[in-house]
């Protein structure tokens, strides 16, 4: 090595060291600034992992919670009644779906006389929205619009922790949405808490402060279950979170089942190709 190239090697090491120190320093500096860390805990879900499937009874209970509680404020405009009887969903029968749809009034028209009319809902109808427009929703909820629930379970931030995030693809972690909704419903602070000037105190809320505009929507015993499941906030929130995941990803089961077959096929195909390639290259040194 010439002395110049020794110099270059030194520069290289110095740059590397400086870079590492800076990255470590900046992580530490920002960690210290972040006072509020939302308390989101991972849960076990039947639909997680490569063979995950929705628990039909759980989805039916979750639908009940959604319908009786959440749908008073939240719309779910991309989901139709007919979806409730589709494969990979809550498994209602078509008769049950018709009956459920018939409980709502839907505006239709115009008829032959050019007039709008009301009729009972059909399976092909979308879930009705509680408010006519975002302005009405805002006026009724202290200035905050309750977000549409069709995609809510996919619309809240994935884990970005620098330690687990890089391997989450390998662990197949995609349940951050239901984990969040479950945690949110279970982390309301005491009602007389003085932390928030406006809004309600919730230590799971994903924001810069633990305060947001949704009052605690549900309490123990509020929804009646007829399958003997516990009627607690804990159970309600678990069920409704699973239901919201299904609403956001109704083809989840089909996706995972197809994926397993495709990946097995590709692996077998790749092995055959590997041996073909080996054979072709057998008498060429390379």
């Amino acid at each position: 090595m010439t002395s110049l190239s020794k110099g270059a090697a030194l520069v290289r090491q110095a740059v590397l060291a400086a870079g590492l120190i800076l990255v470590a320093g900046s992580t530490w500096a920002t960690a210290a600034e972040e006072a509020y860390e939302p308390a989101i805990t991972k849960q076990l879900w039947s639909f997680a992992g490569p063979f995950g499937k929705f628990d039909k009874a759980q989805l039916q209970r979750g639908y009940k919670v959604y319908k009786e509680v959440c749908s008073n404020c939240h719309s779910m405009k991309f989901v139709s009644f007919r979806n409730l009887s589709q494969a990979g969903g809550p498994g209602f029968t078509e008769e049950q779906v018709k009956a459920l749809a018939a409980t709502v009034k839907v505006q239709d028209g115009p008829n032959d006389n050019g007039e709008m009319f009301e009729r009972p809902g059909k399976a092909s109808d979308r879930f009705p929205s509680p408010f006519a427009n975002p302005e009405a929703a805002k006026a009724a909820n202290n200035g905050a619009v309750p977000p549409d629930m069709s995609l809510l379970a996919k619309a809240r931030s994935a884990e970005k922790s620098i330690y687990t995030w890089p391997i989450n693809w390998l662990l197949q972690y995609q349940e951050y949405g239901p984990d969040y909704i479950y945690s949110l419903l279970n982390h309301y602070g005491p009602e007389d808490s003085k932390v928030c000037e406006t809004g309600y105190y919730n230590t799971a809320y994903l924001g810069s402060r633990p305060c947001f505009a949704m009052p605690k929507p549900i309490s123990d015993g509020q929804v009646t279950y007829d399958d003997g499941s516990k009627e607690t906030v804990e159970q309600y929130s678990r069920d409704v979170s699973a239901f919201l995941m299904w609403a956001a990803e109704p083809k989840l089961e089909e996706r995972k089942e197809t994926g397993f077959k495709v990946i097995i096929f590709l692996i077998v195909f790749a092995s055959l190709l590997y041996f073909t390639k080996r054979k072709i290259w057998a008498n060429v040194a390379h």
Partner: protein
């Protein structure tokens, strides 16, 4: 390579066609008899993988376009319609969205392969520049595609990136209005982005043809970085390279399938599942991961015009790279110092990507500035100097000798 074709027309029809349009001999010479260095490693399969990804994006994109509606009132709902009601629509959509990510994974590996083995050097400068043009077109395509689902990140990403043009002195804001087709990102913007998003992949396909043409004029580089001396050093493209390329592509698709089927939203931003709302700015606006290193460079400069210039400069230095590197030796295998600087550049580039996803504050800003400075120093100072001060290891006299040395004089194995 040029010279007499080894193709022999077999049938009367082939002879007839050959006289009128020698297309079969063209394909034969390019993909069958084309001499391929026999020492290529698996990093040389990414060209084939990239071609497969381009085909995959065009195929899935074409079917998506049959169900998608480029109108700001219904675009978001039409993507949900694809996800919920179209047969295998979820597969098309997740396949296409993750396809963009895997396209970029492949192109980054392909580019860094070129950097490591000196594939941009004489006589492959034009080949390299054509590759850079493909990279630019891919970025434009990916950026405009991301706007189409009309989620919050689509809208705000488009707003932030198009706004960069306002940094151009004097005419900046007129240009932005012209790009938008209005006074903010809106329906006209969405429509033109859809039109261009459909067009650009076919322009990419055109440049890919030029890229392959240039490749077949100068021949492939190889891990030893020396030109083939005799037919001893090469094997015919088919079946040798073809079998290896197809195998590698299928392995690549195993990992790709893992993402499509098991973690389809891993590379996406959850905010994009919220419909675009011009009145609600998301807390963190962040481009897709494949733009993050450039985004970090952009934000590291306190001045807007300066940031834009540096961001484009980061790609511009790659265009002139063949003339920045003064070393006569191609492969980093024989360049002990360059090899180490190469890996620092990899770390710095990945680091910039990570910094691009962090909030622009405190230590992150300082780190971004340092990394940005280093990125440019690598290309503008270190590379020109290294060629002058570095003592390369002795080069093998031929590819066959390099292979023997690598295998420790052992008989052939795979």
């Amino acid at each position: 390579m040029s010279g007499h074709s080894t193709y022999v027309p077999g049938t009367a029809f082939e002879r007839w066609l050959e006289k009128r349009l020698p297309i079969i001999s063209l394909v034969h010479d390019s993909f069958v008899s084309f001499p391929t260095p026999k020492n290529l490693n698996y990093f040389w399969t990414f060209g084939a993988i990239l071609s497969a990804m381009l085909g995959w994006q065009i195929l899935t994109g074409m079917v998506l376009a049959m169900h998608y509606a480029a109108n700001d009132a219904v675009a978001f709902a039409s993507v949900e319609h694809i996800m919920r009601d179209v047969n295998y629509g979820w597969l098309l959509r997740y396949g296409h969205a993750n396809g963009a990510s895997f396209f970029f994974i492949a192109v980054y590996i392909h580019i860094f392969r070129g950097l490591y083995f000196g594939s941009y050097k004489e006589p492959r400068e034009v080949l390299w520049i054509l590759g850079m043009i493909i990279f630019l077109l891919m970025m434009a395509t990916g950026f405009m595609g991301y706007v189409l689902p009309w989620g919050q990140m689509s809208f705000w990403g488009a707003t932030v990136i198009t706004n960069l043009f306002s940094a151009i002195p004097l005419v900046g804001s007129s240009i932005v209005t012209w790009l938008w087709g209005g006074f903010s990102v809106g329906d006209p913007t969405l429509n033109r982005f859809f039109s261009l998003h459909y067009l650009l992949p076919f322009m990419i396909a055109g440049v890919v043809i030029l890229h392959v043409w240039a490749l077949h004029v100068v021949g492939q580089n190889n891990p030893a970085g020396i030109e083939p001396k005799s037919t001893e050093d090469t094997v015919p493209f088919t079946p040798y390279a073809t079998s290896k390329d197809v195998f590698a592509t299928v392995v690549f698709f195993v990992i790709f399938a893992w993402f499509i089927f098991y973690v389809p939203n891993y590379t996406g931003d959850p905010d994009n599942y919220i419909e675009a709302n011009p009145l609600a700015t998301p807390a963190h606006i962040e481009p897709e991961w494949y733009f993050l290193p450039f985004y970090a460079i952009l934000r590291s400069i306190p001045d807007k015009l300066g940031g834009v210039l540096c961001m484009f400069g980061a790609i511009a230095v790659l265009f002139v790279l063949p003339w920045l590197d003064t070393s006569k030796v191609r492969s980093a295998t024989y360049r002990p110092l360059y090899r180490q600087f190469f890996w620092i550049l990899v770390i710095v580039s990945v680091g910039l990507g990570w910094l691009g996803a962090q909030p622009p504050e405190g230590g992150y800003v300082i780190a971004s500035r340092l990394f940005t400075a280093y990125y440019f120093i690598h290309f503008l100072v270190i590379l020109p100097l290294l060629g002058l001060i570095e003592t390369p290891k002795p080069l093998p006299t031929s590819i066959s000798e390099a292979v023997l040395a690598k295998n420790g004089h052992q008989p052939a194995h795979t």
